[in-house]
Amino acid sequence: MKFALALLITAAAVWPQTKPYTPPRTSDGLPDLEGIWQPRANGAMYSVLPHPGGFFLGAESKEGVVEGATLPYQPWAAAEVKELTQHMELDPTGHCHYEGVPHAMYFSFQLVETPKYIAVMHENMHAWRIIYMEGSHPKDYLAWMGDSRGRWEGNTLVVDVANNNDKSVFDMAGHFHSDALHVVERFIPMDRDNIHYEATLDDVKVFTRPWKMAFNLKRAPKDYMFLESGCFEDERDQEHLVKGKAALPADHYKQ
């Protein structure tokens, strides 16, 4: 019953109305999705699932961003998730590692397009990735931000992300993945100021089936400007992270 309700709420909150929209063209004749976008990701940085608010853990989110409001972890992996919530000092972004995809997409980004590649720049941690519209995923290469290859399907930008390392995480709630993670993103323009963002994720080492997340990307106000953002040693946080101490009540992120 709870599941059905969660599914309904998720559907209502994140599924797009079916209203075809044709965006204008860039000077190269491509569907124009350029600009600065501000994701409405429902606190996904704290947890991609519905979650309570908390001390430095953001506001509550009743829906989360995952279809069906559940993550299909294999049993061993579900246990690992619980273990990780007790060790927030191990969260990689607390150590200034990149968030990876789709985690980086919960934060503002600027997108520019050329025929051969699309570049996505984030304010947060000055992270960027180049989505190559040609070529294929390299071999023997793992990266925090993975490797992205894109194509246009009509007005939708479809991006295939592979070469992900096993260290980036989806959020602060212990939701991890392996280096088998494969993400297919779809940027679907809804109108001039809104893009519907969907990501289908599969990881055979960790999940029992593929799953999907979705949220809205809203165009930033006209005068919005990125400011420099960095994360590196000189980051005195490192001195204060305490190893081994539980950071959250054991049931804070109930599944």
Binding site: F55, F56, A59, F107, M172, S229, D237
Partner: protein, 131 residues
């Protein structure tokens, strides 16, 4: 005059808090929600910098000893948008900072709110969104 700008910006900052532009996930692991603190002291340094900004204050203990405390705040981008500039918090002024104590026992805290000498309060971070 500057304080008014900060107040306005601080209010705006609260609105902005709903849209995190940044993620830095160590605050919850670092600071103790059960140990709120409120200290008054003299500013020795205001470091408006990446990745996080810091306010350092000299606090006089009851026995007369002076300890320097370090308070961590939001990043440059967040504070800048709230009206802070590198000379906004001048060394030598007396401020009161409310926040949470670090878990590791050092003289470190996370700053939530700061009361300036003229009584205005500025938001340096929020419990929900440390910035």
């Amino acid at each position: 005059m500057m304080s008014k700008a900060l107040l306005l910006a601080a209010g705006f900052g609260l609105l902005l808090a709903a849209l995190p532009a940044a993620a830095h996930h160590s605050f919850a692991a670092e600071y103790d929600r059960d140990k709120p603190i409120k200290l008054t002291g003299t500013v020795t340094k205001f470091d408006l910098s990446n990745p996080h900004s810091w306010v350092f204050i000299d606090v006089k203990e009851v026995d007369g000893k002076v300890t320097n405390w370090a308070f961590e705040t939001a990043s440059v981008a967040n504070l800048y948008r709230r009206g802070f500039r590198k000379d906004t918090v001048k060394p030598g002024i007396t401020v009161t900072i409310e926040g949470f104590l670090a878990k590791d026992g050092t003289h470190t805290g996370n700053a939530q709110r700061m009361t300036m000498p003229d009584g205005t309060q500025v938001v340096l971070g929020t419990e929900q969104n440390p910035g």
